[in-house]
């Protein structure tokens, strides 16, 4: 063994990086050879010296910047807001800065011809559900607080398209097939891929336009604007209308709400994401019809991007969106549809309104195994609501 290799052994001996045989041999050599002893001492001196090197002190705590980067608006904080104010989503939406210039209508991933897509129907089906009325309904559900309505009435805040296959559901909230939901006072969600077979195991898991009670029965009642209330009823009516010919199939629709800040180019983000999940579609459902006098957030208009996709594609989308800077995973709603009888004059008025909407916007068929994703983007400046 040459001298360098032998010296390397002393170095490794110092570091405790020799195997038993090498260690024994080197220890014996050091014991017998003064040069080896000298080298060992020198190396020990160097080692001690290296450990006295000046320290570079970090001048700021990186925790907050890192968390902001990975999670632009901490979910916990949002849920705290939910707890603090049952009009939480008004708060959340109002928090997002305004965005003046945004795409008006976006339909992504239309690369394949429709006929070809239809052939894939059984495998993974995605439909565009261009229902402005539904978006408006969802917005109202979002922007309106829970009201102390009787069970059937609140349940009946339904998606119109879903009403075509309507529903009586036992549980108020049922997780979508590939989402594990943790229910608590502050609703939280843990996303996880669906276990094989899990998706089809429950009849309740068949999503499609479902109706809804976006707020579960848990919280304290909050006053709701008349218009919102009326509109909710109108949705209920629409649901009932479409139930007539619907099979007795339980339908669910899970709605995810994201807030977007104006720094991000949401159109391009979604295009990028949907390239990966080629069967997720996006539609800009327009501006929410808010009455400026009815609520604090009414001063703001919102664009709603309503994404439809099958669970797998939507899961991919959600996961990706969670990491998009400037986009906040705000909350999710599990919505169900239910039976809702016409009871009042007010409902009749709502029904008329719905009919008018129907004329303007055809309702697509409900989408099986579909999860809905909504991105709300403010389009004009507004003051945060007073809480």
């Amino acid at each position: 063994m040459d001298e360098n290799k032998r010296e390397e052994l002393i170095s490794a001996y110092l570091d405790g990086e020799l195997n038993a045989a090498e260690h024994e041999r080197t220890a014996k050599w050091i014991e017998e050879d003064p040069r080896a002893q000298k080298l060992l001492q020198e190396l020990q001196g160097l080692q001690a010296a290296m450990r006295t090197l000046p320290q570079h002190r970090l001048e700021k705590n990186l925790m907050q910047p890192v968390l902001e980067q990975i999670d632009p608006q901490p979910v916990e904080a949002l849920y705290s807001m939910v707890a603090a104010d049952m009009q939480s989503e008004k708060v959340m939406c109002a928090m997002a800065p305004p965005m003046d210039a945004l795409v008006d209508s976006t339909t992504l991933s239309e690369t394949r011809p429709k006929s070809e897509k239809q052939r894939d129907h059984g495998r993974r089906r995605v439909y565009l559900w261009p229902a402005v009325a539904i978006a408006a309904a969802v917005l109202l559900m979002v922007f309106s607080s829970r009201e102390p309505v009787e069970e059937d009435r609140s349940v009946a805040r339904s998606d119109l398209g879903a009403g075509q296959e309507s529903t009586v559901v036992e549980e108020a909230t049922v997780p979508s097939p590939n989402l594990r939901v943790m229910e608590s006072t502050l609703q939280r969600i843990e996303l996880s891929p669906a276990a094989p077979g899990q998706q089809r195991s429950s009849a309740q898991a068949r999503t499609g336009g479902a109706g809804g009670r976006p707020f579960a029965e848990k919280s304290a009642p909050v006053t709701e604007a008349d218009e919102a209330s009326e509109f909710n009823e109108s949705l209920a009516l629409a649901s009932q209308d479409s139930q007539a010919s619907a099979p007795e199939t339980t339908q669910f629709l899970t709605t995810y709400l994201f807030n977007a800040s104006p720094e991000i180019d949401i159109k391009s983000q979604l295009e990028t994401l949907s390239r990966e999940s080629s069967e997720v579609k996006v539609i800009d459902l327009g501006t929410a019809p808010h009455d400026a006098s009815s609520s604090a957030v009414a001063a703001a208009d919102y664009r709603v991007f309503d994404l439809y996709g099958d669970p797998e594609a939507t899961y991919t989308m959600i996961e990706a969106l969670k990491n998009v800077s400037g986009l906040t995973f705000a909350t999710r709603k599990v919505i169900r549809s239910d039976d809702f009888p016409i009871k009042s004059e007010k409902n009749k008025r709502a029904a008329t309104k719905i009919e008018r909407l129907k004329k303007n916007q055809a309702f697509a068929q409900p989408v099986p195994d579909c999860i809905r994703l909504i991105i709300i983007v403010p389009t004009s400046r507004s003051q945060p609501p007073k809480r």
């Binding site: 160097l46 000046p54 990975i70």
Partner: protein, 194 residues
């Protein structure tokens, strides 16, 4: 005796699980825990000017890749690997080179021993700064391996994994680096260092 790569601590594992299962906020605990150590090391290797950005970037990347962390090494080692790679690509991207003069300007703070007398403290501080300068005289390869071994006290196996070179190479390179450092210290101190 030969060390092995340390496995992830129970505390870290729980934080990682919490981050993956519940909230990204839990990840903040890992940032708190390791930021100073990682920054110090990266600042020694790549200079303090960019170290903060590199460390922040490394934490973000670590968060994004957290689900791929298998727990076969300590979290810090895994994080360090990310930070090291981030720093290397950062340097490549920005083509930064640092002159010795610039390096002299960015020597860190000597941490005095509380038992030292003021004159001892000053002497040690000067000595530590000279060792730092001597380290800067070495090539990057030698600086890196010395920091990883002597400062981070990483095992040869861990260093090999971070630098992507065989363990046998670590042994020889480390020894050469030590000999070079000894010469450099002599050069800086103008006297033998023993």
């Amino acid at each position: 005796m030969k060390e092995t790569i340390p496995s992830v601590s129970q505390d870290d594992l729980e934080i990682i699980k919490a981050t993956l299962n519940e909230s990204s906020q839990a990840f903040g605990e890992l940032v708190e825990k390791y930021q100073a150590r990682l920054y110090n090391s990266i600042a020694h290797l790549f200079g303090p000017r960019d170290a903060e950005d590199i460390v922040q970037d490394a934490f973000v990347k670590a968060f994004q890749k957290l689900s791929t962390f298998r727990g076969t090494s300590s979290f810090y080692t895994w994080l360090y690997r990310i930070a090291f790679n981030t720093a290397v690509s950062y340097q490549r991207r920005h083509k930064t080179t640092t002159s010795l003069e610039q390096k002299k300007e960015k020597i860190g703070d000597y941490l005095p021993d509380k038992h030292d007398r003021p004159d001892e403290c000053l002497e040690k501080k000067e000595r530590a700064e000279k060792i730092q300068l001597a380290l800067y005289l070495l090539n990057e390869e030698h600086q890196t391996i010395l920091i990883l071994r002597e400062y981070e006290e990483m095992s040869y196996e861990t260093i090999a994994e971070i630098l992507k070179i065989p363990v046998g190479t670590i042994r020889s390179r480390l020894h050469r680096a030590r000999i070079c450092l000894k010469d450099a210290i002599n050069q800086v101190l103008h006297k033998d260092f023993e």
